[in-house]
């Protein structure tokens, strides 16, 4: 009894803390959260009729990588809504489960989706979970198309898992090529995260390509989980060796610390990031002037004149109140690529997952797809081929470099 009382009191205490801590923005966030879950439930009820394809995906909807999961989910949802509004033969029912960027939780989330009756999978949003769920995709014969899990192991040895994003090695190669072609720097420093497959994959191929292109790597330093707050040693190494460009193959959270600490040290090289850098501007309280001039390679440019892109950006802004990043566009493209493949194959929702799996493999290995993140995309062994776009952050917004 006493314990129960203590528990209740503890809860009250924390709630009262929330009362003095929570601001208006927080409540809107929560409101959005409930809205989306309601939406998910609502779509779920429509499935009872059984005339829609059940598409399931896992992604970090909470946790440090939540920005990617939510973006991919929101992007995919917009595409699903558009297609369902057309009222054609192909209707979709999309369901996302949270994996908090954790492989074990992703497997549980995948199994939840499988129990729900998932026919086509959007795999996982981030690499670590996707490496776990893609194995299940392969075993269960459920076709998987990941919006953004870019590691090699995600698709390696799996005939039915495809990527909408660049594979890590391609990002590293493309970044080195871009830096060399645009002569952005001569002495280059790389700071990477050595316990992350994503970061390591890009780092390794970047180094190989940089050597071929005659770029000089003067400093090559790392960090890991639990050791990702103080970067003074890594930055000092780059600075003393005279690096004029620092390549950051990592997610935006450590990158934001690196930018802040470099400013504190008075070190101002050119910064070059990869798609994980996307999202840095949406961090609450982030001073955009720190990211001024940061360059990154991403296949999606929200400022593009392209009509489809503009309509997508407008819809996204209206529904979710922010400018979509590359992950949102990847999610959107995934749904349309599946839509195109299903249309070509004249698939019907009453087909089982294994039949759809074979049809989709056949389509994806032969079709050409035009999406927001690239034109005339084709797939070979699950990996996509498309052109990256160089972007630079100016006055707190992404601007195309070409």
């Amino acid at each position: 009894m006493k314990k129960l009382l203590s528990l209740t009191l503890a809860l009250l205490m924390v709630l009262s803390l929330a009362a003095c801590g929570g601001g208006t923005a927080e409540t809107t966030e929560e409101a959005e959260g409930t809205e989306t879950t309601e939406a998910a439930e609502a779509t779920e009820t429509t499935t009872a009729t059984g005339d829609a394809f059940k598409i399931g995906g896992t992604g970090p909807l909470t946790g440090p990588a939540a920005i990617y999961g939510n973006a991919a989910k929101n992007g995919a949802q917009i595409a699903v809504d558009e297609i369902n509004a057309l009222g054609g033969d192909i209707q979709f029912d999309l369901r996302y489960e949270d994996d908090t960027h954790d492989a074990e939780k992703a497997v549980n989330a995948y199994n939840t989706l499988k129990d729900w009756g998932m026919q086509i999978s959007l795999s996982s949003v981030t690499s670590k979970p996707a490496e776990a769920t893609s194995v299940l995709n392969m075993q269960d014969r459920i076709f998987g198309l990941t919006p953004s899990a870019s590691s090699v192991a995600t698709i390696d040895g799996k005939d039915n898992v495809y990527q909408m994003c660049f594979m890590d090695p391609n990002q590293g190669t493309a970044s080195a090529q871009y830096i060399a072609e645009q002569s952005l720097g001569t002495k280059i420093a790389v700071i990477w995260k050595n316990d992350d497959v994503y970061s390591k994959g890009i780092h390794d191929t970047f180094l190989t390509e940089a050597a071929d292109r005659g770029l000089e790597i003067v400093s090559d330093t790392t960090f890991a989980d639990g050791n990702d707050t103080d970067f003074s040693a890594q930055l000092a190494d780059a600075q003393t060796k005279g690096a004029d460009l620092v390549f950051l193959p990592m997610y935006y959270q450590p990158a934001s610390l690196i930018l802040a600490q470099a400013t504190g040290m008075g070190y101002a090289p050119k910064w070059f990031g990869v798609d994980g850098m996307d999202g840095i501007l949406t961090m609450e309280g982030f001073d955009p002037s720190l990211a001024e001039g940061v360059m990154l390679l991403t296949p999606f440019n929200a400022d593009s004149d392209n009509e489809a892109t503009q309509s997508f950006v407008a819809k996204y802004k209206e529904q979710f109140g922010e400018i979509p990043n590359q992950f949102a566009a990847d999610g959107y493209d995934c749904i349309y690529a599946i839509y195109q493949a299903l249309t070509n194959a004249s698939a019907t929702p009453d087909m089982d997952a294994a039949t759809l799996n074979d049809l989709l493999i056949e389509q994806f290995s032969s079709m050409t797809f035009d999406g927001l993140t690239g034109e005339s995309m084709t797939w070979t062994d699950g990996a996509v081929s498309k052109d990256p776009k160089g972007m630079v952050i100016q006055d707190g917004a992404y601007v195309g470099m070409d």
Partner: protein, 294 residues
């Protein structure tokens, strides 16, 4: 000159570890328990200061004071609800409870403040720095503020425990709880006071930590908490000067290992040094010489 700048970064990082380590060491000295929730109190302190300064645009000093007040109350409440009922229980039960409180705080923060990283507004502007030796050495102001705060806190705390009546009561409790009680010292009140001071310090540590490394997530306090615990053991747990020495040494070794050996293995090197020290001096660096444990 780079050596000097690494040394200063190391001392600054170490000062933060030292302030956090104080909380561990004081609680251990008196209650003989490891309060693993300490790291998460740091996180709560940082969030309170973040909301005060960024959302409600209060001046930094108000944010810090508010964080200290909230964390002090939180510390007392945690002690009353979670640890006091277990005072007679085996040490292991208390330890598990502490881990439970730690998870509770992290998950409560996750629910209340969401997982999206927030960028802490430093108490001194980012980029403000002092240049010495014709621009060869540049030190950011926050580094100096951190080191200065650490020194002030250490002096204040040492004076408090050696001069004031409450401080003497704390030392008495740490030496022999039963005897202290017989002498008319209120042991329960003294333990509460220890938690209050430790948690108040945690709030300051949180603000300093997030000013130097400005991203804030619900797990922000976890790793620095573990490192500070290591520092406390390194210096000799239960000893206030030990926390200072342990914290600063750990910070300096960490930065030097990254700068001069390899960035890949800095944590491994750091903890290897700890193992060696504990093999040679099992009570920690200052664990034996200092008899008065607080």
């Amino acid at each position: 000159m780079t050596f000097l700048s690494f040394l200063i970064s190391g001392i600054s990082l170490g000062s933060i570890y030292a302030i956090i380590a104080l909380g561990y060491t004081m609680v251990y000295g008196i209650a003989k328990m490891l309060n693993f929730a300490h790291g998460d109190v740091i996180m709560v302190g940082a969030y309170i200061c973040f909301f005060a300064t960024s959302r409600y645009e209060m001046p930094p000093i108000v944010g810090i004071l508010l964080a200290v007040v909230v964390c002090t109350i939180l510390g007392i409440v945690i002690e009353k609800l979670a640890y006091k009922p277990l005072r007679a229980a085996p040490i292991l039960a208390v330890l598990i409870t502490a881990i439970g409180v730690s998870y509770f705080l992290q998950n409560a923060a996750l629910l209340l403040w969401s997982s999206n990283p927030k960028v802490f507004k430093p108490i001194v502007p980012t980029g403000s720095r002092i240049t010495l030796f014709d621009g060869q050495l540049s030190i950011s102001v926050i580094t100096l503020v951190t080191i200065a705060s650490c020194i002030v806190i250490m002096i204040a705390l040492t004076t408090f425990t050696s001069k004031s009546k409450m401080g003497k009561a704390m030392r008495a409790c740490s030496e022999d709880k039963g005897a202290a009680q017989l002498m008319g010292i209120n042991v329960n009140a003294t333990i509460s006071l220890t938690f209050a001071i430790g948690s108040g310090l945690a709030a300051i540590a949180g603000v300093l930590l997030c000013s130097a490394y400005p991203t804030l997530v619900p797990t922000t306090g976890a790793m620095p908490g573990i490192k500070a615990f290591t520092a406390a053991v390194f210096g000799g747990i239960g000893s206030i000067p030990g926390a200072l020495v342990g914290g600063i040494l750990l910070g300096v070794i960490e930065i030097f290992a990254k700068a001069y050996i390899t960035t890949q293995l800095s944590d491994a090197i750091c903890f290897a040094v700890l193992i060696v020290v504990l093999l040679v001096k099992p009570a920690g660096l200052l664990g034996k010489q200092i008899r008065e444990k607080v």
